[in-house]
């Protein structure tokens, strides 16, 4: 039973993530006045990648890519998805989630840097630095929420927000939401924070050396990551959900918001991205924290 539940969680994340990616491509295309691919394009891509031959330079590369995907799937189990929750004791323990999530980053980083391509390593060095950039505002905002809900469980935060839109944290703590939304843009790696992949600069960065099912796994990791990161924000600020479809809808709204910004923004220079994240979102998060402490 627990195994089936596990598999169910994993597949839900992947399918919803891939669907979002597909719809996102269509949406971006329409903003740019192109026709765009069909919304199931992401599924076609993954299927194709898994059927191709894959190249690898050593076992660490395989191991790292696996670990990256496993880290994100494992983290999703800690996140409450609407009424679903996997663990009752650790129903969305935010400290565990934030640290478990880094298994994904570490695995991906290890896998691609084992490939030895300097472009991918430059991408990773950017990704890690950007991580320091967006985690600070994110954490300050989360600390504020932990103080008001007197618990570090997402499950408890969700239940405190139940009973109508006026109880949602987005209404109660708007500055915190602005900070987290800005950080989310960087977390998802969308413009203006796409310095990590930056196709025209470093040839897609981390992905440059991946092929076949390695690339497929990286694709799935990205899909699961979209699901996870939007899901955390839904739980934190949008009051969770009563059923899973409502949850997916809220995630989709966040994702579309981020895509809209993506479609109309240029790219930040790398240092500027970090500096920007340490000024604007951090200031908003600090304002929110001060309001929470002083009231």
């Amino acid at each position: 039973m627990i195994v089936l539940k596990f598999i169910g969680y994993g597949f839900t994340a992947i399918i919803i993530g891939l669907l979002f990616m597909g719809i996102g491509r269509k949406y971006t295309a329409r903003i740019q006045r192109r026709y765009g691919p069909p919304f199931w394009q992401a599924f076609i891509d993954v299927t194709k990648l898994f059927s191709k031959q894959s190249l690898s330079h050593n076992w660490i590369m395989d191991f790292g890519i696996l670990m990256g995907f496993a880290g994100i799937v494992g983290t999703i189990l800690f996140m409450p998805i609407g009424p679903w929750h996997f663990f009752s004791l650790m129903n969305g323990n935010i400290v565990i989630i934030m640290y478990f999530m880094t298994i994904g980053s570490l695995g991906m980083a290890m896998g691609v840097s084992a490939s030895g391509n300097p472009n991918s390593t430059i991408g990773i060095s950017r990704a890690l630095t950007l991580m320091v950039g967006y985690e600070i505002p994110f954490v300050i905002a989360v600390i504020g929420l932990i103080f008001v809900s007197k618990s570090s469980l997402l499950g408890t935060m969700v239940s405190l927000q139940s009973g109508g839109i006026m109880n949602w944290n987005i209404i109660k703590y708007p500055f915190g939401f602005i900070a987290v939304e800005m950080a989310l843009q960087a977390m998802l790696g969308e413009k203006p924070f796409d310095v990590i992949t930056a196709p025209s600069e470093i040839a897609s960065g981390p992905m440059v050396e991946l092929s076949g099912k390695m690339m497929g796994l990286a694709f799935l990791q990205h899909a699961a990551q979209i699901f996870l990161e939007t899901g955390i924000v839904v739980n934190l600020f949008l009051g969770g959900a009563n059923n899973i479809w409502e949850f997916f809808l809220k995630q989709f709204v966040l994702f579309i918001l981020s895509l809209t910004v993506n479609a109309i923004s240029p790219r930040f220079k790398f240092e500027d991205a970090v500096k920007w994240l340490w000024t604007w979102p951090t200031v908003f998060a600090l304002i929110q924290l001060l309001i929470i402490i002083l009231t």
């Binding site: 898994f50 191709k52 650790m90 840097s113 390593t121 600390i143 402490i293």
Partner: protein, 632 residues
């Protein structure tokens, strides 16, 4: 019993020194076996709390000079865990020292150091404590500078800051004894008396606390004493670095837990009108900030360093910062988290330094950009380092996350948002430098000169494997360590945290570590199922990929060219450059050294110049001494 162990240690040192120059392996095996015996004896001492041994050395008038040893819960805990880690390191030393010239003297001093290590943890009065502390400082200094050669300059950092700390402590002890209301050298009773005195004479108590805090901070490299570990670790013998980082740097933290933290807790109990912040005394809060600054500063310095041993040393500084911050929260979770992090750090940092020692043993290289791609050549070393950095970054399911989780519990439930942010910043930054080390040493391109590098001998792998097992074990069941910690925390007058073998209960949330570990394994199997889909992967040499199968040599393409490792985090450095230029504490120390040098040069010139000059110095010195004596 304790004095017997200490006596045996001295005898063992002499026996080991008497073994001839050729019996290197025998000497180190003997040391490790002897320490195994000591560990067994210590295990037998568990439970004999409050036992005290007094040995009168001599009497002068009414004052008896005696060495007093006793078993406290905290002391036993430290003694036992450090001994176990020391055994691991000495197993590594057996092979490592096969071709070393200076190992005989190092071994002699190191056994004495291991003895003084125990003496520090078992002393119950300040004089014994200070004597043990001094032996520790001196022996370790001579181990860091084998043969007074290139490492002398580096060890000077360590030595001068240690000496400064030791003298601060000596003055503190003297002040303690000279204050009429205290007039005791016993550590436990001095805490109680100082707490009472804090109501009537807060100034005196403040000065005494400041002197001891300076001493402990200097030893544990807390800001502003953070430069010494990098210098000392980088030049120390490769098998001594794990000891320095895993054990020796913790003495200051032991002092804080032994004296400062219980004292603060006592003061909070007996003195109601003390200035408080968030339920802890103001000075405790300030000291917690020193910890947080150390954590962030250590992280930054680790990010920008290119020497692998310096990087690991700064990472140690940063971890000490977490522990210090957590301890000065003075709550049960805070002290438990700090103490637990000390143990975890000792385990994973020794593993990391052992693997770095293994890399250096095979490659003789310390600069990270000259290494690379060693993972496939040295798999066990790579695995040790990988798991070590996972633990150090606080990623589940290894041991580091358990203590970091408790530290966050303490900080968040005590309502310290800015300290939490600082610790989180340091912790995220840790990810940067740890990954950089992993990439530059073990991943990326393998330079051609290392094509024939082999894994280290099996005897050297044993301690690394033990390190891996203990990291996984503590991560799976932190209760093993947290239960004895609970006893020590209870002895300080706090209610220990509720823990079971695999369950940690906090105020904001609780976690079941066994479930976290199994989730990780389960997720891995889930990912592996995807990996099995489709065709088998095909192996290709990296360079072939870049040239589409043509001869890489024709393109002038070498692995070294394609190893991106130097200036890895240049953008981070660029962001912080303006701050770094203004606030470099090392420059202040250097200025101090310059001034001291010029002062010394002036004096020596005067002395050399004429008889009149030298007699003037003599008279001036006499006047200073008389004045000082008269004023005190």
């Amino acid at each position: 019993m304790i004095s017997n162990i200490l006596l045996y240690t001295m005898i063992a040192a002499v026996i080991s020194f008497a073994l001839g120059q050729k019996l290197k392996a025998v000497r180190w095996s003997f040391s490790a076996l002897f320490l195994g015996y000591v560990g067994f004896q210590l295990y037998g001492l568990y439970g004999q709390w409050g036992m005290v041994e007094t040995h009168n050395i001599f009497s002068l008038g009414s004052i008896n000079f005696s060495l007093n040893f006793g078993i406290t819960k905290l002391g036993w805990f430290f003694a036992f865990f450090t001994t176990i880690i020391n055994i691991m390191i000495w197993i590594f030393s057996i092979v490592k020292n096969m071709n070393e010239k200076e190992e005989r003297g190092i071994n002699f001093l190191w056994i004495l150091l291991a003895g003084s290590n125990l003496a520090i943890f078992f002393s119950v009065d300040w004089i014994t404590f200070f004597i043990a502390w001094e032996i520790m400082t001196w022996t370790s200094f001579f181990i860091i500078t084998p043969g007074w050669k290139n490492s002398f300059k580096a060890a000077n950092w360590y030595f001068i800051l240690s000496m400064f700390g030791a003298y601060a402590m000596l003055v503190g002890i003297w002040w303690l004894y000279a204050t009429p209301a205290i007039h005791t050298l016993n550590i436990a009773s001095s805490i109680a008396l100082l707490a009472k005195l804090s109501i009537t004479a807060p100034g005196t108590v403040g000065i005494i606390i400041a002197l001891f805090v300076l001493s402990f901070f200097a030893k544990s490299a807390v800001f502003p004493f953070h430069p010494w570990p990098a210098e000392a670790h980088a030049e120390a013998p490769d098998d001594f670095s794990p000891y320095l980082s895993g054990i020796m740097i913790k003495y200051g933290l032991y002092g804080i837990l032994l004296f400062i933290v219980p004292l603060f807790i006592q003061i909070m109990k007996v003195n109601p009108n003390i200035a408080m912040v968030n339920g802890i005394p103001v000075y405790s809060y300030i000291l917690a900030w020193f910890g947080a600054i150390t954590a962030v500063l250590g992280t930054y310095l680790a990010i920008v360093s290119n020497d692998m041993k310096k990087l690991a040393a700064y990472s140690t500084v940063s971890n000490i910062g977490y522990a210090v911050t957590s301890m000065f929260i003075l709550s049960s979770a805070g002290v438990t988290g700090g103490l637990f992090h000390v143990v975890n750090h000792a385990v994973f940092k020794s593993a990391i330094f052992l693997s770095l020692g293994a890399v250096k043993f095979r490659t003789h290289e310390r600069e990270m950009h000259k290494l690379g791609g060693l993972a496939t050549k040295m798999p066990i070393t790579f695995l040790t380092f990988l798991l070590g950095i996972i633990a150090a970054a606080g990623i589940p399911p290894l041991n580091g996350y358990a203590s970091k989780w408790i530290i966050y519990q303490a900080l968040l439930s005590g309502h310290f948002p800015f300290l939490t942010t600082m610790i989180f910043l340091a912790s995220t930054g840790a990810f940067l430098y740890l990954f950089r080390a992993l990439h530059s040493i073990f991943l990326g391109q393998l330079p051609r000169k290392f094509n024939n590098v082999k894994e280290v001998p099996f005897l050297m792998q044993i301690p690394m494997i033990l390190g891996i097992l203990s990291m996984l074990g503590i991560g799976y069941a932190p209760g093993i360590v947290l239960k004895p910690i609970g006893l020590a925390v209870k002895a300080m007058g706090l209610t220990p945290m509720t823990v079971e073998n695999t369950l940690m209960v906090g105020k904001l949330s609780s976690i079941n570590t066994a479930v976290v570990s199994s989730t990780f394994i389960g997720a891995f199997f889930f990912a592996f199922a995807f990996y099995l889909i489709g065709k088998k992967r095909h192996h290709v040499e990296p360079l072939d990929n870049y040239t589409a199968g043509q001869d890489p040599e024709e393109f002038g393409l070498t692995p070294e060219l394609y190893h991106f490792a130097l200036k890895f985090y240049e953008p981070v450095k660029n962001i912080f450059r303006p701050i770094e230029e203004k606030l470099n504490i090392k420059n202040y120390y250097r200025a101090l050294v310059r001034n001291a040098n010029s002062f010394g040069a002036t004096l020596s010139e005067m002395f050399k110049l004429s008889g009149a000059g030298s007699s003037m110095i003599f008279v001036l010195g006499l006047v200073v001494i008389i004045l000082a004596g008269w004023m005190l």
